[in-house]
């Protein structure tokens, strides 16, 4: 009964088990290898045997995929040296294998501050390897719906993916709500206003804005269906795509750069009752989103 399980509540390992074909998952450098972070000791912080990043291979409807899953409850899913290196190695392999898609299960607050320089550099290396994999013909699909969201450098990695599926619980942003408030004041952004956070960064807004390609229910089944579908719609990473993305983003900025809130953006996009959007159930929201903004798969 995998439809009854919440993706949001599940661990990274559970998500992989439920996403992939039964018993198809093979982990690379698993926890029994005990490749822990060499840097957390300095801060008296506990280690996790997989450093919060699980990489391996599996099957989706019989087709081979590489997978990477972040554990959002360990150090906020943040990228440290080991976590980042595992993801980089996987993407470099995808580049050289060429024919195996990659699915990344995002759940991250961004760089792990205790290893800030290593984490920051890992993000850059991941982005380069990801784009090389896409250049070689391997689609890279991002799934976003975990507790930590997809923040900071994680948001930048997500922006390099061929396509993204996001649930209502998912959030995508560079700066987190608290960071904006600390730097610019509560009038600029009240990080305690959950509705505001979700309107600005959450899955429904990202889908309506065109920041994600697929909106899904909070279930492994929905994410699985989206991953399978998006894999075949992935655009090539070429000049034509980048020009299309340039036009897409420039046009978005022109239209919405003067808006002060998501409600204004949604209204401008033709949503009749913008204030209702947060309350819509998944199916009703998907119907609305598809009528307002048909997903396009050629400009990411």
């Amino acid at each position: 009964m995998i439809g009854a399980v919440s993706w949001y509540e599940s661990s990274a390992r559970e998500r992989l088990r439920l996403l992939l074909d039964p018993l198809s998952f093979r982990e690379f450098v698993g926890p029994e290898q005990r490749e822990v972070s060499p840097h957390l000791n300095v801060f008296n912080l506990p280690q996790q045997f997989d450093d919060g990043m699980i990489v391996g291979r599996g099957r989706l409807d019989g087709a081979a995929v590489f997978v990477a899953a972040q554990e959002g409850r360990f150090m906020g899913g943040s990228l440290g040296e080991v976590h980042g290196a595992k993801l980089t190695g996987l993407l470099r392999a995808a580049r050289d294998v060429r024919t195996t898609p990659v699915v990344i299960l995002f759940d991250t607050g961004g760089v792990r501050l205790q290893e800030a320089n290593a984490g920051e550099l890992a993000i850059a290396e991941v982005m380069r390897a990801l784009l090389e994999a896409r250049t070689a013909g391997a689609p890279v699909i991002g799934l976003i719906g975990g507790r930590a969201g997809c923040y900071g450098g994680g948001g930048l990695i997500a922006g390099c993916c061929s396509a993204l599926a996001v649930s209502e619980q998912g959030r995508i942003s560079v700066s987190g709500p608290e960071v904006i408030e600390t730097n610019r004041g509560v009038e600029e952004f009240d990080s305690k206003d959950r509705a505001l956070v979700w309107r600005t960064m959450g899955g429904k807004h990202r889908r309506l804005l065109g920041g994600a390609d697929s909106f899904v229910a909070d279930t492994p089944e929905s994410f699985r269906a989206a991953a399978c579908r998006l894999m075949h719609l992935a655009p090539r990473f070429d000049a034509e795509m980048l020009r299309a993305e340039q036009r897409r983003l420039a046009e978005r900025l022109r239209r919405f750069g003067g808006c002060s809130d998501a409600f204004d953006i949604w209204t401008m996009e033709g949503v009749a009752n913008a204030f209702d959007v947060p309350n819509l159930c998944t199916d009703d929201f998907i119907t609305l989103a598809d009528s307002v903004r048909e997903p396009r798969y050629d400009a990411r």
Binding site: N44, P46, F49, D50, R73
Partner: protein, 105 residues
Amino acid sequence: METLSYRLTAARPAAGSKPLAIIGVVASGNLEVLVERVGAPTECQIEVRTVAEGFGAVWAAVIGDFVMRRSAGGLKLSINDGGARPDTVALRLAQAVRLIEDDER
């Protein structure tokens, strides 16, 4: 950070054939347990790495109780602990053994 080590006699060996299993997450009030088939079938080894120092007696009690009630022979359980309560520890130990015995998952 404190490291604790236990080597206890187990009444019966764990069932199943999986070489390893893992359960839990390292976070405040939580722990991960990596369980591997290692050592003599009459022995259970447990290694603990915990942020909460000075609770050796509590660990000994929870672990002793667990090994007595559960057939955990031939297993090594390695724990990274983020300061979990004893009942959470007991739960994870039981989950870990159940997982390594379950050949279906």
